[in-house]
Amino acid sequence: MNIIGPDALLFGIDDIDAATQYLTDYGLEPIGNGRFEALDGTAVIIAPKDDPSLPAPLETGSMLRKTLYGVADQATLDAIADELGRDREVKRLQDGSLEATDDVGFVLGFQVTVRRPLSLPAEAINAPGAPPQRPVNEIGVEGGAQPRPRTLSHVVYFVPDAARTEAFYAERLGFATSDRFTGVGSFMRPVGTQDHHTLFFIQTPPHMQGCEHFTFHMGGPTEVMQAGNHMVSKGYQSFWGPGRHLFGSNWFWYFKSPFGCNMEYDADMDLHDEQWTAREAFLSADTTQAFLLQPREKWAPMGPPPKAAE
């Protein structure tokens, strides 16, 4: 099953104007019909929550209505239709994509991926002892930059049964588990990517089922910081970060959003292949963050000398 990763997430939204403003400020490009794209064409798609074209919502009222996966080719699409068609309805939509529901109730779509190949440099750093990554006289950081998200990275679900969820994605769709939090959930990657995870899930009571967060990859940690800083300057509220995760090693900065879940920036995630053995740990702050930073608007007292001293 050569699934590459999520091509798009579909949300049924209460406040379209606010969501449009938010996604644009986040750095995605509005290209019409509720579609907001990263540089490679992966996207967030929004529609009014009562739009009849959207799949039915979860009973919990989660705004995430569908996770649309990109796959390598038509053969993969046919293989998924055969596999899932054994025990559930698989719809073939007019655009050629498939639609089916996973074992805990999330609606999934599958399409031949729309991702455009990217050819962009990663953030380059200079360090003593290593050959320079940036040539002499090339500047490392530009104030006020607003970097654009490169590609849809991953989605995180609250699930009522983590073991069942892991079994479905492993056995039916060929995902591998990169790491696991004991009794909580697993980080999984499909066959078509080496990213540490495109899917993570957290075991919760059934009334919480939904989306915890989703995120796009940036070009490096500085882009995470600058994009996040731009969000803060626009008045959006940080939820967690900036910091760096341990499992996956990805830099992170989470923001609350009008989607009833958090929206993250991430960068520099570990890559794995079949040689990798999944680690397991108990979930705590110590196992999720290598470090955590918090922005500070004023960092030094300043101002003119007192009048008497003039």
Binding site: D15, A18, M208, F239, W240, F255, S257, G260, C261
Partner: protein
């Protein structure tokens, strides 16, 4: 220990809306007030889901579009405006911490703050 603090005047509040305040000078809002006509309600700006998360995704965005419920943007919890009770979402059945509020004859909105409560660091 508690102290009474003036947050604003009734006229400063939208007729059917909400606004955040930072009465203890933490550098971020720790209290919010919801007004529905003549009625005002105040709560600590902390979601009982984690206990250390402020609710809005943008300053003052405490209500859903119709102004019918308080919502936490982190994970979509919904709360009754008049009681602070969570009616759906992660903290179902739990409640926001209500802050005693009174409107003076002059229209000042006065909150009684517990001075032992040091607000919270917003993660």
């Amino acid at each position: 220990m508690s102290k009474m603090v003036k947050l604003c005047t009734l006229e400063d509040l939208p007729e059917r809306g909400a606004r955040g305040f930072d009465p203890e000078q933490w550098g971020h809002d720790t209290v919010f007030v919801v007004r529905r006509g003549r009625f005002v309600y105040a709560y600590r700006d902390l979601c009982p889901h984690y206990g250390n998360t402020a609710l809005p995704w943008r300053k003052d965005a405490y209500l859903d579009t119709k102004g019918e419920a308080i919502v936490c943007a982190a994970h979509g919890a919904r709360f009754e405006i008049a009681t602070g009770l969570c009616t759906s979402g992660p903290c179902l059945g739990k409640s926001l911490v209500q802050i005693p509020l009174r409107v003076s004859n002059g229209g000042d909105v006065l909150a009684t703050l517990d001075t032992n409560n040091n607000g919270a660091e917003s993660p």
